[in-house]
C-alpha cells in the first residue's frame, strides 16, 4: 500500500511541477496577477508531494518490503538500519528521486524566502524550476520508477554493494546533489532575467548567496567523495581524474567563477552577460555530470549505478533544457546592456582573470573527460585519457590563477595600481619562495611549486585581513575594533582563499608520499619511511553481514611503539564480494595507511603508505566551505535584510 501511495505522490508531483512551470511562466509573460500568485503555492505543493514519495521509498526500504523491485535489488534484511535508509539513494532510481526532491526543495525555498522579490521575477524563477523538475520527474516515472512491484517477492534482497556500506558515502550523495542542484537557482534566475531582459545589482545580490550556498555544499560533497575514495577504496590515492570525479569538478570550477563574477554584477553592474552565461553553463554541467555518468555514456571505473538503456531519454532531456536556455541566451543576451567601466588593473580585472583561468581549466578537464567518447564515435579508436594528461594541463593553468588570488583582493575597485598592491605582499612572496625552495630537493617541479603556492595563498589571505585592519600601523586596540567591524564577507573571502591554500598544501604533501607492497609472514617486519612495520598476527572476525580477516600491524619508530593498525578484508556472502578495509592512523601531519591484500600460504600481502599532509586536502575543503558559510551569513548581502530595521509600530 505504501509504495502505491509513493507512486501516486510521484505522479502528483510530476503533474504539479508541469503546472508550476506552465502557470508561472505564462502568468508572468501575460501579466496575470492570479497566476503569478499561484506560483509559490504550486512549488510548495510539488515539494510536499515529492517528499511524500521519497518518504514512501525510505519506508519500504526500512520495513524490508522486498515486493518492491528497487528494495529487493538493493537491500537485505540483515543490512544495518542506517544503510537501509541511506541505501535508498545508493542506486539509480533512488538517487534520481533524491535529485528531484532537492530540485523541488529549491523551488520551495524560493517560494518561502523570495517574498521580497518582484512577484513577476519570482514567478518566472519558480516557473523555470518547475518546468525543469517536470522533465526529470517524467523521466523518474517512465524510465526509472523506484516503486515497481515484484511478484512473487523474494525471501530476501540482493543487498547493497558493500563498498557503499559506509558512513562517509551514506551522506556524500545528498550533500553533493544539494550542491549540484543548488545551481538550479542561479540558472533559473539567469533564465528569468533573460525573459525579462533586465539585470541589475539586486539580481546579483540574489544570485550570489544561492551560488555561494551551492558552492559550499558542492565543495563539501566533492571532499567527502574524495575522502571516501581515499579510505574505502584502499588504493591510497585521493583523486583519480575519473569521469565521475571530473563531472563533479566541472560545475565546481565554473561555479567558483560564477561566485566571483556575481560579485562584480552586484557591486559594479558589469559582466552581466557573462554571469548569465556562467549560471546557465554551471547548471548545464551539473546536469550533464549527474546524468551522463549515471546513464553510462561516460565509462567510469567506479560508477555504481548505471544503465545504458536510459541514455536516450536523458540525452533528449539534457538537450532540451540546455538547448532552450542557450537559445534564449543567444536571442536575449544583447538586451542586457553592460555598464560599469573598469580598467584592466582593478579588482574587477582580477576577477575577470580568475574567471578566464577557471573556465580554461574547466575547458581542459571537459576536453580530457569527453575526448575518449568522441574518439570512439568519430575515429572508432579506444583511447583513455589518464591522470598524466590532467596533471600536465591543469597544474600550469592553476599557477596564474593562484598568483592572482592573493593579489586580487588587495586591489581596489574600478582602477588600481599594481605596484602598491605588490608592495603589501612582498613578505608573502618572500615566505612563499623560501617554503617552495625548501621543498625543492629531488628533480620534480610539483612539490616546490605546490608548497610555495600553498604558502602564498594562506599568507596572502592573512595579508588581506592585515591590510584591512591596518595591523601594526594603528594601535592594537584600533586594529581590533576595525577587525570587529570588518564585514563577514571579507572574513569569508579570506578564509575561503586560505582554505584552498590548505588543500594545495595537502596535495603538495601527498606528492611526497611513499608506499611499499610487501609480503610478510606473522612476526616479520619491514621498514618504510623511518617506521618499522611488524605483522603481529592474522585472525578472523565477524560483522553483522560480513566475515572479516584482520591483520594486526605494530608500527614503531626508533624502537618506540607508535600505533597498532588493524586493516581487514571483509567478505560479504550475499553479494559474494570482498572489500578491503584500510587502517589509517592520522596525526594531522601525516597518515599511516595500511591495506591487507590476499594471503598465500601463510604470507599476507600488505600495502603500506606514509602520506604527508593528507588530511589537509579535506580539511582545506572544510575551511573553504566555512569561509563560504561566513560570507553567506553577512547581513549586508541578504535581500530583505539590508539593515536591522526597528520594530514596526502597530498601526
Amino acid at each position: 500500500m505504501i509504495p502505491e501511495l509513493g507512486h501516486f505522490a510521484l505522479a502528483l508531483a510530476c503533474a504539479l511541477a508541469a503546472a508550476q512551470g506552465a502557470v508561472s511562466l505564462f502568468g508572468a509573460q501575460a501579466n496575470q496577477p492570479r497566476m503569478i500568485a499561484a506560483a509559490p503555492a504550486l512549488a510548495v505543493g510539488q515539494l510536499i508531494a515529492l517528499a511524500g514519495a521519497f518518504g514512501a521509498l525510505v519506508w519500504s526500504s526500512v520495513v524490508d518490503d522486498f515486493s518492491v523491485l528497487n528494495v529487493a535489488e538493493n537491500s537485505h534484511s540483515l543490512k544495518p538500519l542506517l544503510y537501509k535508509i541511506t541505501g535508498t539513494w545508493g542506486n539509480h532510481e533512488g538517487s534520481i528521486l533524491l535529485w528531484c526532491l532537492i530540485l523541488a526543495l529549491c523551488g520551495g525555498v524560493v517560494a518561502a524566502f523570495g517574498r521580497e522579490l518582484p512577484s513577476a521575477l519570482r514567478a518566472r524563477v519558480i516557473g523555470v524550476l518547475g518546468a525543469t523538475s517536470a522533465g526529470f520527474l517524467l523521466f523518474a516515472l517512465t524510465e526509472s520508477n523506484p516503486f515497481i512491484r515484484l511478484w512473487p517477492p523474494p525471501a530476501d534482497g540482493r543487498d547493497m554493494n558493500p563498498l557503499l556500506q559506509d558512513p562517509g558515502l551514506a551522506f556524500h550523495p545528498p550533500i553533493l546533489y544539494a550542491g549540484y542542484v543548488g545551481f538550479a537557482i542561479p540558472f533559473a534566475f539567469a533564465v528569468a532575467a533573460l525573459l525579462e531582459g533586465r539585470i541589475d545589482a539586486a539580481w546579483g545580490r540574489w544570485v550570489r548567496p544561492w551560488a555561494l550556498g551551492s558552492w559550499c555544499l558542492l565543495s563539501g560533497g566533492i571532499a567527502l567523495g574524495s575522502w571516501w575514495a581515499y579510505y574505502e577504496l584502499g588504493w591510497g590515492g585521493y583523486w583519480f581524474w575519473d569521469p565521475v570525479e571530473n563531472a563533479s569538478l566541472l560545475p565546481w570550477l565554473t561555479g567558483t567563477a560564477l561566485l566571483h563574477s556575481a560579485i562584480v554584477v552586484e557591486k559594479r553592474e558589469a559582466l552581466k552577460v557573462w554571469t548569465v552565461l556562467l549560471a546557465i553553463g554551471t547548471f548545464s554541467l551539473s546536469l550533464s555530470g549527474t546524468f551522463l555518468v549515471r546513464s553510462g555514456i561516460l565509462n567510469s571505473v567506479h560508477a555504481f549505478a548505471n544503465d545504458p538503456a536510459r541514455g536516450v531519454f536523458i540525452l533528449g532531456l539534457l538537450a532540451l533544457v540546455i538547448g532552450t536556455a542557450l537559445a534564449l541566451f543567444a536571442l536575449r543576451a544583447p538586451v542586457l546592456a553592460p555598464s560599469g567601466l573598469f580598467s584592466p588593473i582593478s579588482r574587477e580585472g582580477a576577477l575577470v582573470l580568475n574567471n578566464i583561468f577557471l573556465c580554461s581549466i574547466a575547458a581542459v578537464v571537459l576536453t580530457g573527460t569527453t575526448y575518449p567518447l568522441f574518439a570512439q564515435l568519430l575515429a572508432g579508436a579506444q583511447i583513455s585519457v589518464g591522470p598524466p594528461f590532467f596533471e600536465a594541463t591543469v597544474f600550469p593553468l592553476a599557477v596564474p590563477l593562484f598568483a592572482a588570488m592573493s593579489i586580487g583582493p588587495v586591489l581596489s575597485w574600478k582602477r588600481a595600481a599594481l605596484a602598491p598592491a605588490l608592495m603589501r605582499l612582498w613578505w608573502v612572496a618572500l615566505v612563499a619562495l623560501v617554503v617552495g625552495l625548501s621543498a625543492a630537493w629531488g628533480f620534480r617541479a610539483l612539490p616546490p611549486l605546490a608548497f610555495g603556492a600553498a604558502a602564498w595563498l594562506i599568507l596572502g589571505a592573512f595579508a588581506d585581513i592585515v591590510g584591512r585592519v591596518r595591523l601594526f600601523r594603528l594601535p592594537l586596540g584600533a586594529s581590533r575594533s576595525r577587525a570587529a567591524g570588518l564585514p563577514l564577507a571579507a572574513w569569508g573571502a579570506a578564509i575561503g582563499h586560505a582554505g584552498l591554500g590548505v588543500t594545495v598544501a595537502g596535495i603538495a604533501g601527498m606528492s611526497l608520499a611513499s608506499h611499499a607492497i610487501v609480503a610478510l609472514k606473522p612476526g616479520q617486519s619491514t621498514p618504510l619511511a623511518g617506521y618499522t612495520w611488524t605483522l603481529e598476527e592474522l585472525h578472523d572476525a565477524d560483522g553483522p553481514n560480513y566475515m572479516a580477516r584482520v591483520a594486526i600491524i605494530e608500527v614503531a619508530r626508533g624502537g618506540r611503539h607508535v600505533i597498532t593498525l588493524t586493516p581487514s578484508r571483509r567478505s560479504f556472502p550475499v553479494q559474494r564480494t570482498t572489500v578491503t578495509d584500510a587502517a589509517i592512523h592520522t596525526n594531522l601531519l601525516f597518515d599511516l595507511y595500511a591495506v591487507l591484500g590476499e594471503e598465500r600460504d601463510g604470507t599476507a600481502v600488505l600495502r603500506l603508505h606514509v602520506n604527508p599532509l593528507a588530511p589537509w586536502i579535506w580539511l582545506g575543503a572544510l575551511v573553504m566551505a566555512i569561509g563560504g558559510g561566513l560570507s553567506l551569513a553577512d547581513r549586508r548581502l541578504r535581500v530583505g535584510a539590508p539593515a536591522r530595521r526597528p520594530l514596526a509600530v502597530p498601526a
Binding site: 571505473v301 584592466p344 581549466i361 581542459v364 594528461f389 593553468l397
Partner: protein, 167 residues
C-alpha cells in the same frame, strides 16, 4: 578607458587563457593518450615497447601463477580475447574481483620480449559486469554477437570456440 579598449583587454586576456589551455591540451594529448589494445591487436601489429597501453581481455583459466619476488607479491597470468593471448606480469595487490575467467583491464607497457608489464590491474566491482573495452574486443573476435543475446557466462569465455566468419 573606453569601452573599446576594455573589450580589447578582455579579449586579449581570454585569448591568452584559452590559447594556453589549447596549447597545453594539444601537447599533453601528444604524449599522454593511452590506447586500448586487445591481445589479438598485439599479435597482429605489436605496438612499440615502452609505450603506455591499456590491455584488456579475460584472465585465461589456469594461467594465474602467484609468487613472492624479493618480498613483493608478484603475479603472472595470460590475458586473452579468444584469438590470441598475452603474458602479463604484475607486482602488487590484485583487485578483490580478480579471478580466472574474469574480465580485466591492465595498464602498463610491452616489453621487448612481447610480454606485458602491468603497473595497474583493474577489475570491475561487479561480477556480471564486463568492461566495455573487453566487450568490444569480444565482439571483434567474434566470440559474442549482441544480436544473439546476452554475453556468454564469464567463466566460459576463454574456452569458447570462435564461430566461423560469415557463418
Amino acid at each position: 578607458m573606453t569601452r573599446k579598449r576594455r573589450r580589447l583587454w578582455v579579449l586579449l586576456a581570454c585569448g591568452v587563457g584559452l590559447g594556453s589551455a589549447t596549447a597545453l591540451s594539444l601537447s599533453a594529448f601528444r604524449s599522454n593518450l593511452v590506447f586500448f589494445v586487445a591481445p589479438s591487436d598485439v599479435a597482429a601489429s605489436p605496438p612499440p615497447p615502452g609505450r603506455s597501453l591499456r590491455l584488456g581481455g579475460l584472465v585465461e583459466a589456469g594461467s594465474v601463477q602467484k609468487s613472492v619476488m624479493g618480498g613483493q607479491p608478484a603475479t603472472r597470468f595470460r590475458v586473452t580475447d579468444g584469438r590470441a593471448s598475452v603474458a602479463v606480469s604484475y607486482v602488487g595487490i590484485l583487485p578483490d574481483l580478480f579471478r580466472e575467467g574474469q574480465g580485466v583491464v591492465t595498464l602498463g607497457t610491452l616489453r621487448p620480449d612481447g610480454s606485458f608489464r602491468a603497473s595497474e590491474v583493474l577489475a570491475k566491482h561487479d561480477e556480471t559486469y564486463m568492461p566495455k573495452d573487453v566487450a568490444d574486443a569480444l565482439k571483434r573476435s567474434g566470440l559474442w554477437r549482441p544480436s544473439e543475446g546476452a554475453p556468454p557466462p564469464a567463466a566460459s569465455w576463454n574456452t569458447l570456440a570462435v564461430p566461423k566468419q560469415g557463418g
